[in-house]
């Protein structure tokens, strides 16, 4: 058994999970909204990139760049016109609405794109790899991991270095007081979801080039994202990355013992973290 390779592949896989989870973490951290349609929104973005790639013949990375503002606008509108209406003291309405949204998205995509298993073509990049001493690293998984780190660095900069970030944190801490200080929570929430959709688009780029996707694959991808967010501690973006890596490494190490253990090992790691640190590794604030 090649332990170095196993762990490295797990870390790289963790980057993919962290990308899936970063948008979820952002939205939950700011407005305590659990978006059950997150996985389906990743699939929507993947189809958008696919349409741009196959329709206009764009490079997938360029296509993702074009998709970013579109998804930002879609996220902004989704939050402003729909999800804001569900926010309140009761945590049930947002859950129900996003659950419904998930079903609507899946069936709309099925109607529009059929049930075909699709993939964003990335040419020779798909199978390229770099020899790193005793192990070989695929270029795409490496790019995925580096993108995850870049996304988290940028999000942290926005959060802690800009006026917008200050408004995010203030609204998250105390909506009423933030409102008194001239922050408009509804617009802040809409912007936050817009940014989350930008992250979703980046995740979609790597999901779409890594493996096939079809309209119904979203929810299956959501569970690891949830686990990564919870392991990391709610609201901590670096925690989300670490959470993703923990799940990824647990999965590859579990699989190295026996493939039957692969998914289970990830879930077990999640349960162990919950047992030892019920609020996750780096909880940002006390709720």
């Amino acid at each position: 058994m090649n332990w170095l390779d196993t762990i490295l592949q797990g870390v790289l896989l963790g980057g993919l999970y962290a990308l899936f989870a970063a948008g979820l973490s952002l939205v939950f951290g700011i407005m305590r909204l659990v978006n059950l349609a997150h996985g389906d929104l990743i699939v929507v973005a993947a189809f958008l990139i696919l349409v741009l790639v196959t329709g206009l013949g764009l490079n997938p990375f360029l296509a993702a760049l074009v998709a970013l503002p579109v998804m930002f606008a879609a996220g902004w509108a989704l939050q402003y016109f729909i999800l804001n209406r569900t926010l309140g003291d009761d945590i049930l309405p947002p859950l129900l609405v996003t659950f419904g949204l998930s079903i609507v998205i899946q069936n709309a995509l099925l109607e529009g794109f059929s049930a075909d298993s699709r993939r964003v073509p990335a040419g020779s990049l798909e199978t390229m790899s770099l020899p790193l001493g005793p192990v070989t690293v695929g270029v795409m998984p490496l790019l995925t991991f580096l993108s995850a780190i870049a996304v988290i660095v940028v999000l942290n900069q926005i959060f802690y270095r800009t006026a917008l970030g200050r408004a995010f944190r203030a609204t998250s801490d105390d909506m009423v007081t933030a409102g008194l200080m001239g922050v408009e929570p509804k617009r802040i929430f809409a912007t936050a979801t817009g940014i989350a959709m930008v992250v979703v688009t980046i995740a979609a780029l790597y999901l779409g080039t890594r493996a096939n996707f079809d309209p119904t694959i979203g929810p299956a991808r959501l569970i690891y994202a949830f686990e990564a967010v919870i392991i990391g501690g709610l609201g901590s973006l670096w925690g989300t990355l670490l959470g993703g890596i923990i799940i990824g490494v647990a999965q590859t190490v579990g699989a190295a013992v026996n493939p039957e253990w692969q998914i289970l090992a990830g879930h077990l790691a999640f349960l162990i973290v919950l047992l030892v640190r019920p609020r996750g590794l780096f909880p940002r604030a006390i709720d």
């Binding site: 298993s117 695929g138 795409m140 890594r210």
Partner: protein, 426 residues
């Protein structure tokens, strides 16, 4: 005095007379619509199997209209969910009082529907699931062969696990390899059956001199296959086989290429059934091999329309602007058998008579001969299963992009022509 009971009795008697009245006139008796219920996964992850539904049913209605037969087809969507499949089957039986059920596409659809029909004593024709998961999967105790019972109303036509094993090993024999095989079997109905140490691939491979490396059952939608790749590499594997879902196969295939692990042969069930799934692999899908249940080059004709396999596939492409897929032939054959059964049964509204008519079927369909005569089957399945031919093929990259499925091995069904020889993956 008129009592409630008397009234009911009289009403029933007069009703009987009224019903019996037209009986001597067969023309009117025939005028009664025969209702066929059809359950298929039109939405959800299995929807690709049901792609040809509307196309086939339109054709069926046109043919029955021309023949002057009053046959109504009621279609229900299983949403790729076994529970929902059982529910809609019950709706069809109870609310729509159907006379015959037809069902297709994976054990997740065929099994709940067939079980419901058997319990409600409604005749049922099923297809597109290997016969073992269909027959054994519906038994009260799949683990105890002694307890397996045949069905009175349920009939199935498709191939079985033994056929796919024969097809794969025949294909491998055409290529020079070190006979070391790596198995990728997921932890689902198909994966457990294929990898079963008694009825699956392992015993046959050992007998034929192959060494199988089977790292174990993985979960579907796994994102990393480095453990399997490492195991195959250590065992110096040159042949890959298994029954993966398309996203997992893509993940495995790319990861293997990234790790510089190449094979001479890759025969995969399920994952590369549809041309769209092979195209999703870009240019790296060349010479992947899989089982072929039906293709436009199968030398069979439709008993319903007289079309050849090539005509049917071309007709589908013209009508839907989509490439042909293997389920098209089988959905067509399913309705061919249904039409034949309705035509032959003396009273299509009598469940037992229809079941007897299904059992007596002996016909040539677009997927080959269908007859429940028990040929090439173990005794317990002889009554309810009819086997259709299975061959093997390779996907070849076309010059202008896209893939062609070329039949490369027909030892299991020599009447189906091959289009080329097996080529090792470059």
């Amino acid at each position: 005095m008129i009592t409630r009971r008397k009234l009911l009795k009289t009403a029933a008697a007069s009703g009987l007379v009224a019903a019996a009245g037209p009986l001597p006139m067969p023309a009117i008796a025939q005028g009664r619509a025969v209702k066929i219920g059809y359950v298929s996964p039109q939405t959800g992850p299995l929807a690709a199997f049901a792609e040809a539904d509307a196309f086939t049913i339109d054709m069926f209605r046109e043919v029955t209209g021309k023949l002057g037969l009053d046959i109504e087809v009621i279609v229900k969507d299983s949403q790729s969910n076994p529970n929902r499949a059982a529910d809609v089957a019950r709706e069809l039986i109870v609310d729509d009082s159907i006379n015959l059920m037809v069902v297709a596409s994976t054990p997740e659809t065929t099994n709940p529907v067939t079980t419901t029909c058997e319990a409600e004593q409604v005749p049922c024709i099923s297809t597109m699931a290997p016969w073992q998961p269909w027959f054994i999967g519906q038994q009260a105790n799949p683990g105890a062969p002694d307890s397996w019972k045949p069905f009175a109303y349920a009939y199935h036509f498709f191939w079985g696990l033994e056929d796919v094993i024969a097809v794969f090993t025949n294909m491998w024999a055409q290529v020079e390899t070190n006979k070391k095989v790596g198995g990728l079997f997921p932890n689902d109905g198909d994966g457990n059956a294929w990898g079963d140490p008694n009825v699956g691939f392992p015993p046959v491979l050992t007998k034929q001199g192959y060494t199988l490396t089977d790292p174990g059952r993985y979960q579907n939608l796994t994102d990393d296959f480095s453990a399997q790749i490492n195991a195959f590499r250590q065992a110096n594997v040159e042949i890959i086989t298994g029954v993966m879902i398309p996203p997992d196969f893509t993940t495995f295939w790319n990861q293997a290429k990234q790790q510089g692990f190449t094979q001479k042969v890759a025969s995969m069930g399920k994952a590369i059934l549809f041309p769209q799934a092979v195209e999703a692999l870009g240019n790296s899908g060349n010479n992947l091999s899989s089982e072929v249940w039906w293709s436009p080059s199968h030398p069979f004709k439709s008993s319903m329309t007289g079309m050849s396999s090539a005509d049917l596939a071309a007709g589908f492409t013209v009508a839907t602007k989509r490439p042909w897929t293997q389920p098209i032939g089988f959905i067509h054959a399913l309705f061919e058998v249904a039409l034949d059964v309705v035509k032959r049964s003396n009273d299509p509204t009598d469940g037992a008579a229809v079941a007897a008519a299904i059992a007596a079927t002996k016909m040539d369909t677009i997927v080959g001969p269908v007859a429940w005569d028990g040929a090439n089957l173990p005794p317990f399945a002889q009554k309810n299963v009819s086997k259709t031919p299975l061959v093997g093929g390779q996907w070849r990259l076309k010059d202008g992009g896209g893939y062609d499925l070329v039949i490369t091995d027909n030892k299991t069904a020599p009447n189906i022509p091959t289009g080329g020889k097996m080529e090792p993956i470059a």
